[in-house]
Amino acid sequence: MKKFLNTYDEDCIACHACEISCARIYFKVDDLERSRIRIEEREKSAHIVACNQCETCVQVCPTLALTVNAQGVVLVNNRLCVGCYMCIAACPNESMFRYLGGIIPIKCIACGLCLDSCPTEAIRIEEKQEN
């Protein structure tokens, strides 16, 4: 089984609380660019962008800096990453991110620490069959 952050756009009210929560936890800043989850405000609804752990990026990484842990979550090994961003371009749902001044790309690692910040339960940690 694979652990991932499932997203429910229809419940999202685009309050961005999850992004703030994530950026504070991992970077200790309020900069939404540092969040591993992104909320896109579209005309009719919000769209939540977070890694579904599909592993496409793992295949393209030239340094094997992207690995899959026992729970099926894709992790970035900062020691091996050379910041080429081939993973960002290859990501089919555009959930691998860069930020100003950063070198290592960031992505959701299904830690679940943002869940409490969401007032509508539009994000949930779930499990699915392996890809």
Binding site: C61, V82, C84, Y85, A90, R98, I103, I104
Partner: protein
Amino acid sequence: MTERKVLAEFPYELKPVEKGYNRRTLYINLSTKAIESRPVTDLMIDKFVGGKGFDLYLMWHSVKDTTRWNDPENEICIAFGPLCGNTNYPGSGKSIVTTISPLTDIPIDCNVGGHFGPYAKFSGWDAIEIQGKSEEEIIVFIDGDKGIVQILSAPDEEINSHILAERLIAEFADNPNGYQYVSVVSSGKAAEYVPISCLNFSFWDKRRKVARLKQAGRGGTGMVFRDKKIKALVVKYSGLKGDTNHPVDLETLQKTGLKLHKEIEEGDDKQNRMRQVGTAHLVEIMNDYDLLPIKNFKYGQMEEAKGLASWEFKKLFTQGLPDGCWFGCSLSCCKAVDNFIPRTGPYKGQKVTVDGPEYETVGGCGSNLCIWNARDVVELNFYCDTYGIDTISFGTSCAFAMECYEYGILNKERTGGLDLSWGNADSVFELIHQMGRGEGFGVIVGQGVHKMKEIFAREYGADPKLLQDIGMEAKGLEYSQYMSKESLAQQGGYTLALKGPQHDEAWLIFMDMVNNQIPTFEDKAEALHYFPMFRTWFGLQGLCKLPWNDIEPANNAETDEPAKVPEHVQNYIDIYTAITGRPLDKEELIRQSERVYNFQKVFCMRMGKGRRIDDIPPYRAVGPVTEEEYLSRKERYDKLLKEKQGIDPEGKSTQEKMALLRAYREDQYQQLVDAVYKRKGWTKEGIPTIEHLKSLGMDLPEVVEVVKRFL
């Protein structure tokens, strides 16, 4: 583990690269065992930029006018360029190798991938300059983690690259996890015997767990390397990060790289499929357009060529791996055949990983010899690489020998019993193994076409005029694998190329022959000015040419000048400024190249070539040499006689028509040369004028002194 003596050692201070430069070069003299750090001056950066520019500058000041390839003062220079080693923009890991060539007697330059260049640069050096000759076999080791350069004894028995590279990686890495931080430059056994030799630059493939090999292929670098008794250059550097090149504007660099990554992700499968088959996608296109060289460039198209089409190689290439030769190259063109089992030679029956074959290798080792079996081409590719042989010169040289065999100039008595009939792969394998052993007729073929012409005329009484017409070399270098007969512009692209007929200065066949975009002499001359200058720029910076136009923006066709790929030109300007902090526009980009290009031209003159007479192609590159060639395209040539020359072909013999066509085409070529020299700011004899050098800021005293000898 091999026992090694430290013959010389040079500790140096580790310092970060700043804005793409280290501002120092590494000088090694193998005769005296001196190792020195030398400063990079402002003049070097302002006038020569880096990469090939630095190589040529260093070589100029080290060789004499009379220096030949095996003189101790000849150098092997390897330089990297300010953009080299960035991990953001695809195709940014190139080294540029120069030396005085054993094939041409003038500077040769090769642009090669692999990890050596970036690691050597980040170890602290903008260029490596190796002079002198060692009396014993040596390895040069650059430890970029500790800041030490050593010359080590090399009693290793192994020479061939596919084994030597892996052994040295294992020896010099701290542990198996560190294999990826070591890169090796090596050649192979054949480079001790034949000048059509190359250097292999390794990169450790973490997925396949093998050393992959990229080639500095042209002009005989391997023979100079082995003549100096260098077994290998080894570099170790484990500190690579996404900003090790210390750009002034990382944000722009990252964004520009990411934009191209996405373009490749979206466009490559629809455009050239570089990630699936690499440059082998060209085989079927060239065959369709009558441009694939067959039987020593007699023909450009044959039904049998489908045996070498990209889909045949796709079956052999392992798919779905990030096959970039440097980190961050999402174009990933360097394909590999895993678990290949050669059917001949010393490694017969052993499983090996083979890099490529790329298009040029398919043309040279396949179609040009009428070898239509993809696996045979893979095997020739493997042995060329590991023996240190250039697949292009090998192909063109074998093709020449086979045509001489067809005409009876060669026979079994003269080839040591080898039947060199077209398509006889077994004989071609024997030739390559003879080159690897340094014996037999293979060593004659390995001297290259220029030397073979002399030998066959002298020893076998062959007609020198026929040999000149069918021997596909100019300046001593073999032509690479495209047919130029029907493209006047490409005849110039090949034959006017400074180092000899390689397609890396200009590839204009589609612009000229297919799309008719450059109909006049002036149009062709403009293209033969712009593209060689633009492409020279990659070698100054440490970049690969392929991500420029082997992937194009979706809207490229709608731009003013699609052949230039304007958006990608702007990308290069943006990343140059983002890394170096120096302003650049598209005009100054060309001028950067023009300075170095003209310097190289004068360097060639200084070494005894670079004259108009050196820019003459063999007629095989221009038109049909034999009746069978004329007759195979009779309709085309008859029509051209009528339309271009106003001559009615009716009633004329084939020989008469061939003579008329030849006179016309040779005259057209000379008119093209006039137009190109004029556009380049050169005299009718091909000498850069002092005024032109002044206008470029390249009227350096040492350059002017040489030019004055010719004016």
